[in-house]
Amino acid sequence: MARRSAPEVNAGSMADIAFLLLIFFLVTTTIEVDSGIASKLPPPLEDEEPPPIKEKNIFQVVVNSENRLLVEDADMNIGKLTEAAVKFLDNGGGTDPRNACSYCRGDKDPESSDNPKKAIISLVNDRQTSYKMYLAVTNELVRAYAILRDRESKRLYNETYESMMDRLNNWPATETDTPEYEELEDRIDKVRDLFPRNLSEAEPQKR
């Protein structure tokens, strides 16, 4: 008897089936944005006096209803905001040992911030400010912190803060007990401590 090979299945319509699936996924799905500027809200206010903060340790940023920017009582273009914020944070004007900042490379202007740990950026915005302006300002201020953190982490660990954060986020979940992981976390905390993100938003005015 002649050996008969099994008849081949016709694969001609495979493409049609795959196209059908493809079109289904194309139509039903949207690429979701999964990135954003992380921020923390302060807990609800309790009736206690806010701690005294020296005027010179506050960097005042106001955005009005026409999306104009007022920084430390002067009109400013948003392109220069990061630079001004870096200058303020990195000033290190503190003189007595308690306030002095050993790693700052700023002008040591006595009229500006003492120490990055004390320096606070205060953002006030009008209700009519547009969201894109608000986000751009927030972004620029966050960038100022990122620049300084990058600088310090390069100096201390020869690696940018960003790449350390990347490594932390992509660490395999099963290996979080290893000493390497803890060391990385430790380093990130240290750099973060050098330039804590003290970005404060004013309490909204009661209407």
Binding site: A18, F25, T29, V33, K40, Q128, Y131
Partner: protein
């Protein structure tokens, strides 16, 4: 000579389509992997602004999303044109934010409750006022971890229009 007769016919040979399924499957897998099913149907305009200091959001199960924007054309008759808040799949007043966040939080696993992040998807044309109201509500609800969801790009380009 009859050996070569066949080749003389002027017809073009058919293109081989055997690898077509492979190509289509490749596209299919790309789309399957790259896209995420959206849970809520958008009822507001939601064109996100750009920013370059973005961080990746936490896992999806730890995230609560709040949309802010003007109602889309189909809903303008009902809700007007000024900005509204969309919680889940319906447009709600600002007073519902706390309840919504608390409900969502109760549905989460115990471990995820502390790591809950509220992703604020605000339309770039919206005004900050309504966002401020939402943030006040979130503070009251003790949902303090938030993220201004935005596309990766230069924020200054947003402003130039």
């Amino acid at each position: 000579m009859s050996k070569f007769k066949k080749k003389k016919s002027g017809e073009l040979p058919a293109v081989n389509t055997a690898s077509l399924p492979d190509i289509v499957f490749m596209l299919l897998f790309f789309f399957m992997v790259a896209t995420v099913m959206r849970d809520d149907e958008l009822q507001v305009e939601n064109k996100l602004p750009k920013a370059n200091q973005v961080e990746k959001l936490a896992e999806k199960k730890k995230i609560v999303t709040i949309y802010i924007g003007s109602p889309s054309t189909a809903f303008q008759k009902q809700y007007g044109v000024s900005e509204v808040i969309q919680l889940g799949d319906k447009i709600s007043p600002v007073t519902d934010v706390q309840t919504y966040v608390n409900t969502k939080r109760n549905e989460m696993d115990e471990d995820d409750k502390d790591a809950m992040t509220v992703s604020l998807k605000v339309d770039q044309k919206a005004q900050v006022g309504i966002l401020t109201d939402v943030k006040q509500e979130l503070r009251e609800a003790m949902a303090l971890k938030i993220s201004y969801t935005s596309l990766n790009g230069d924020p200054l380009k947003n402003l130039k229009k």
